[in-house]
Structure formats: C-alpha cells, structure tokens
C-alpha cells in the first residue's frame, strides 16, 4: 500500500482549498445556527450568489475582478435581506424549509436553460479568476516541504488561494471571537434560547437576527468566492442543498457555537473523506480487500464516511470542541 500518498493527500486535504471554502461557509452557518439558532438551510445560496456575482460581473459584463467581488458581496447582503425580511419572523423549523426553498430556487435559476445567456446553464461560468491570479505574489513554482518521507507541496496558484483563504478564515474567526464575547454576541445567544424573553428585555430581535443572517451570509459568500477562484469556474449544482447539509455536519462535528469548531469540522470532514478513500483504494488495489473492486471504492467510501459521521456523533454528540453540559440542557 502506498502509505506515502495516503498520508500526503490526507494532510493536504486538511488544509487545502476545500477545507478553506467549506470552513468559511461553515463559520457563517455557525453564526446562524450555532450562535443565533437560525436554521438557515440556504447557506449554499450565499456561496452561489457570491460566486456567480463574481463570475457574471467579470465574464458577462466584462468588469474588473474587484467589481466582481463587490457585486458578490452586495449580492450576499441583498440575499440576506430578501430572505430575512419575510422569514425571520418564522419559527425555526419553518425558517429552515423556507431557506432551503430559496436556495433551491436560486440554484434552479442558475442552471436553467432560460437564463443560459447570463448564468451559463448547467455548466456555469468560467474565466473570471485571472484578475485574482494576477495579484499572486508567489512566482510560478511548487511550494511546500517534506514531512519525513511525505511530500506536501502545492503549486503557486493553489498556494495563493490557500494563503488568502486562511487569512480570511483567521480574520473571520477573530471577528467571531470578538463578537461572541461581546454583549452583541450575548444577545444572539439569548435569541437562540428564547426570542420572547429577549424581546421582553427590550432588544430588537428582528434586527439582531438580520445582522446575524447578513454576517453569516457574507462570510459564507467568501467561501463562494474561494470556490470560484480556486477552480476558476462556478457550476450551479455545487451550490445545492447537499452542500449545506455538509456544512451543518462540519459545524456539529467541530462543535456548534465554538469559534474554531467549523474550521476544525471542515478539516476533519475532508480528512475523513480523503483518508477513507485513500486507504480503501490502496487496500483494494493491493489486494487486501476483496469484497469490492476498485470502481466501487467511491461508493464504499461514502458508506464509511456515513458510518464515521454516525460514530463520531454517537460518541461525541457535542462535537470536538463542544460542551457536554450544553448538550444535556438541550435534551427536550
């Protein structure tokens, strides 16, 4: 078995762009769900709006990269307002279904033939990342180091995305840390517990929920940008409900309402995905496992990922960083 590759790909997965972009989006979910108790199941839409905002601005309108970022951010804020104004009055479970619906509508519109001219149909858009890579300070090369016998290298493009991405993550985590320590964060957490009580204490619940929705949405949209920039393209199906489910999984894995929870959750999720896959493929091709063939490994990987998720949460329902006491209170 090729342990070197397995270890190398696994370590890389822990810090790669996927971790970065899901991590960012998960930080957003953590603000929504973990701190404010908003069951926003439309996070993927924030990513999508940002990614497409950037892509369409640059490719269709021919405007520069920075304008695209601005449009994407504005799109996220507007989406938050549009989603929030009518739905933030709803009970949590209803909010969930409405946000799923909004996200699905957005995805379906992105991929529709009717709007193909703008959004590019099911293949999406590409060719908008040059502006970003033009800023790349790293000369063309492979960067990294050997961890013992394990090579960990990224090329200059990936490195640039990762650099920016991790910087953003650090920034977001710091902001979340500051906010959640502050009275502002206290109001959010209180809203999560009981809105009416918070209202009775003179806080404008709606406004706080909206602030939370916008903040989490904007941070989620950063994930969307990273997606678009890392892959050089956006496709509608990336921004489906499935993605949001995975984001929730990451948040809970890491521990809800913990500053670093979502990031660690994202890393863990990808590590799980890559490690299981690496071990399985290698074991199968080396003949250690005979009940599946190589082309079934993809499916078996998910079976084990599912199992892994189940086991993690069965034995650590509060997630990696979570507080067991909170979970005990949580029981109905």
């Amino acid at each position: 078995m090729d342990w070197i590759t397995i270890i190398s790909t696994t370590i890389k997965a822990a810090i790669n762009v996927e971790t970065v972009l899901y991590g960012l989006a998960a930080i957003g979910i953590n603000i929504h769900f973990g701190y404010t108790g908003l069951l926003n199941f439309g996070q993927a839409a924030f990513m999508g709006v940002a990614g497409y905002g950037l892509a369409v601005t640059v490719t269709v309108l021919g405007l520069p990269f920075w304008v695209g970022i601005a449009v994407g951010l504005a799109g996220a804020v507007i989406l938050a307002l549009l989603m929030g104004i009518p739905t933030l009055q709803l009970r949590a479970d209803y909010l969930a279904i409405v946000t799923i619906a909004v996200a699905e509508i957005i995805r379906l519109v992105f991929r529709s033939v009717t709007f193909k001219e703008v959004f590019g149909g099911s293949d999406g858009r590409r060719g908008f990342s040059d502006g970003f890579y033009a800023l790349n300070p790293f000369p063309e090369n492979e960067y990294g180091f050997n961890l013992g016998p394990v090579p960990i290298f990224f090329n200059h493009r990936v490195l640039w995305v990762m650099f920016v991405g991790w910087l953003l993550i650090a920034l977001c985590c710091f902001i979340v840390y500051l906010l959640m320590k502050s009275p502002w964060g206290r109001v959010l957490k209180a809203i999560r517990e009981d809105e009416d009580a918070v209202r009775s204490l003179g806080k404008n619940v709606f406004s706080y929920k909206m602030q939370s929705l916008i903040l989490g949405g904007v941070i989620g949209s950063l994930g969307g940008f990273i997606y678009g920039l890392a892959y050089g393209s956006v496709q509608p199906d990336v921004f489906g409900t499935e993605t949001t489910f995975y984001l929730y999984t990451m948040v809970i894995l890491g521990g809800a309402a913990r500053v670093l929870g979502p990031v660690v959750g994202a890393a863990l999720f990808w590590v799980l995905l890559v490690l299981i896959y690496g071990v399985l493929t290698e074991a199968v091709s080396a003949g250690y496992i005979t009940f599946m063939d190589v082309t079934q490994v993809g499916a078996f990987r998910y079976i084990f990922v599912g199992l892994g998720l189940i086991l993690l949460l069965v034995f650590r329902p509060q997630g990696i960083f979570g507080d067991k006491r909170e979970i005990a209170i949580d029981a109905r």
Binding site: Y94, V98, I303, L309, P317, D330
Partner: protein, 386 residues
C-alpha cells in the same frame, strides 16, 4: 406529392439543378461542395388546393462535407380566403392540459403525502428531523424490486412483502439504533446530523447493491394510458392513488382516534410526562417507527411504479417531502396530506406558465408565500406566549 417543381441554387444564386418530385413526393439533388444552398419550391407547380405551411417556399439548408441535408415543404389544404385557419387536430387545449396537470399534481402529491406522513409521524413522536427518510422511501422501492425482479414474484405480493419487511426494518432501526441513542440522551441536533450520516450510508449501500441505473418493475411498466374525460392516465395510477388515499386517511384517523394514536401525540408533546401517565414511550415510538418505515416503503413502491427506481429516488424527492410536511403544519397527519397535495399540484400546474425545468421553483415559491401568510403552516396552530 408528385410533380412539384424544386430548384436548387447556391447561396449566391447560381443555379445548381432543378428537379421534380417523384410519386412519394421526394426528390434528390447531388451537390459537390459543402456550403449553404437555397432551395425554392415552385408554388405554381403545387395542386390547386394546397399551399406551403408557414407561407415561405424557400429553404436555405447548409450542406456539410459527407453529409446529406434534407428540406421539407409541409403542405396543407388551402384555406378559403377570409376563413380562419382550422385549429390543428390532435393537440390539446389549455383546459385539457390544465386538467391533466391537476391529475398529475394529485398523483404526485399523494405519493409525497405518503412519504411525508412517515416523516411527520417520526418527527412528531421523537422530534427527529430524519434526513434519512428519503432513503427509507428508496428502501421500500428497492425491496419490492428485489422480490419482484430478483425472485420473480409478481409485483403485488412483492410489494406487500416489501412493506412488511420495511416495517420490520423500521422497528429494528429504532430498537437497535435510534432507541439506543435516545437512551444515551443524544440531543435532537446531534441526531439530525446522525441521520445525515445514516442517509449517506444507506444511499451508497443501495448504489452498491442496486447500481446507479434507473430500473423498472417487471410488471406495469409503460402501461398504456386510457382516456378518462380530459385526462389520460394508466390504470395503475388510479389504483395507486386509491391505495395512497386510503392509507393516508386511515392513518390520519387512527392518530386522532385510537389510543395508540393519542399516545403517540402525547409522546410527541412531552415524553417524560407520557411515561408518567403510564404510557410505554419506547413501545409507542417503536410502533411509530414500524408504521413510518412501512408507509415510507409504500410511498417508495408507488413512486417506483409511477416513475422508475433509482438509488437516489428518495433523496430526489426529500425536499418536496419536507416542503409538504412543513407547509401543512409540522406534526399533523392531515397537515402532511394537505401540504403535500399543494406541493404536488403546484409543481405540475405551474408548468402551464413556467418552463418545466423550473417547475419546482413554482412550488417552492408557493411554499414561501403560504408560510409568510400563515407562519404556522396550513393546518398548524400558533402557540400561546407567556
């Protein structure tokens, strides 16, 4: 059409050839260079009582190397001057289409309702938002497939066995898994994520066992439709709808009227108090899981019968199921029915106006609007404050 005169010229107008159509109305021109050509039909050579549809008698096909290119002049009887062109036969009017779509909406809505009922039962009694419910739907369909195609049983007994087996699996699921988690005091949020894990797990087990393709049952595939008034539908649709409706109503009434049904609602409200009232909470939940599993399986079989089977079939309608449950009002059986019917109807009927690729958009938009007007769902009730 015999004897129509056709002339072919190049794009720039140089004549290539003139031909006359043969008895079958076909003709043939050999050209030696690829490019655009202009084909003109001599209207004068047509019979008196016919004309070219669309009016123009010129076609400009492009011929590519090594290919042939066909042009067609559709003829139609000449309408008497001043008289409107007769409606084309065979097409259906707006209202027949609306009727057909309403029927389809009910058809789909009932299947969703059945699936939604299972979800709602389990959510209602245990508070578990079960993202693996789509997989339970798939499970039923695939079980029936296994008995049907795998063992050669006719679909009807195969379906009955599948529903029973799925019920049993539902029971075991709670007995061996969810029940144990409850006992450990696992919170509902953690359970929800666990259910995502279960969904992934099951889905890919299905992929391995069943493969990634669409499959159909051995019987009732492509059953020809019959015309009933303005709609045309296959007999299997009517039978299926009948079964779905009766199951929904029976379960709905059972929940409202029977002791176990009431106990289930009591457990949903407050399990500790239910236990204090002498209700065996675990037993009630197991009954609900058994029923939920069986009903989900039935929904899957009906979906497979009306459509086809695929390992993601349940996942693909999960959103609609959730929409149905929520729209009706969480935790009420009749709410699930009403909500799902609304979802089904809107999906289908909205295609009268929106492109079908966006048909879910219509239904989801309605969902949003309804919830804005009635935040507690159609049949839900507002809770009191204070």
């Amino acid at each position: 059409m015999n004897g129509a005169k056709i002339s072919v010229t190049t794009e720039s107008g140089q004549p290539v050839k003139e031909v006359t159509s043969n008895a079958q109305g076909t003709w043939d021109v050999q050209v030696d260079k690829p490019g655009k050509y202009k084909v003109t039909l001599d209207v004068g050579s047509l019979p008196q009582n016919s004309e070219v549809r669309g009016g123009t008698n010129v076609r400009t096909p492009t011929v590519y190397e090594g290919n042939c290119s066909t042009v067609l002049f559709a003829l139609q009887p000449k309408a008497a001057p001043g008289q409107a062109q007769p409606e084309e036969g065979g097409g259906s009017s707006f209202w027949t289409r609306a009727a057909q779509l309403t029927f389809e909406g009910l058809n789909l809505g009932l299947i969703i309702a059945l699936a939604a009922l299972g979800l709602s039962l389990i959510y209602g009694t245990t508070g578990l938002t079960n993202f693996a419910h789509g997989e339970l739907v798939t499970l039923g369909a695939l079980l029936a497939y296994a008995f049907n195609v795998g063992t050669g049983l006719h679909l009807i007994p195969a379906a009955v066995i599948a529903v029973i087996v799925a019920g049993g699996l539902g029971y075991l699921q709670d007995r061996l898994f969810w029940g144990q988690l409850r006992k450990r005091g696992t919170g509902t949020i953690a359970m929800m994520i666990i259910s995502i894990g279960v969904a992934i797990f099951l889905r890919y087990v299905f992929l391995i066992m069943f493969g990634g393709e669409n499959e159909s049952y051995a019987q009732y595939t492509a059953q020809p439709g019959i015309e009933v008034g303005p709609i045309s539908a296959a007999p299997k649709n009517f039978v299926a709808m009948g079964i779905e409706l009766s199951v929904l109503i029976i379960v709905g009434i059972a929940l409202l009227r029977t002791r176990t049904g009431k106990a289930a609602r009591a457990v949903a409200d407050n399990p500790a108090l239910a236990a204090s009232s002498g209700i065996n909470v675990d037993r009630v939940i197991r009954i609900i899981w058994t029923m939920g599993g069986a009903i989900a399986a039935l929904a899957g079989i009906m979906l497979g019968l009306s459509q086809n089977l695929k390992y993601t079939m349940g996942q693909d309608i999960l959103l609609l199921i959730f929409a149905g449950v929520t729209l009706g009002g969480l935790g009420t059986a009749f709410g699930a029915l009403v909500g799902s019917l609304v979802v089904g109807l809107f999906i289908q009927v909205s295609t009268l106006w929106v492109p079908p690729e966006l048909k879910s958009v219509g239904a989801l938009a309605v969902l949003i609007i309804v919830l804005l007007v009635r935040p507690q769902g159609i049949l839900g009730r507002r809770e009191r404050v204070g």
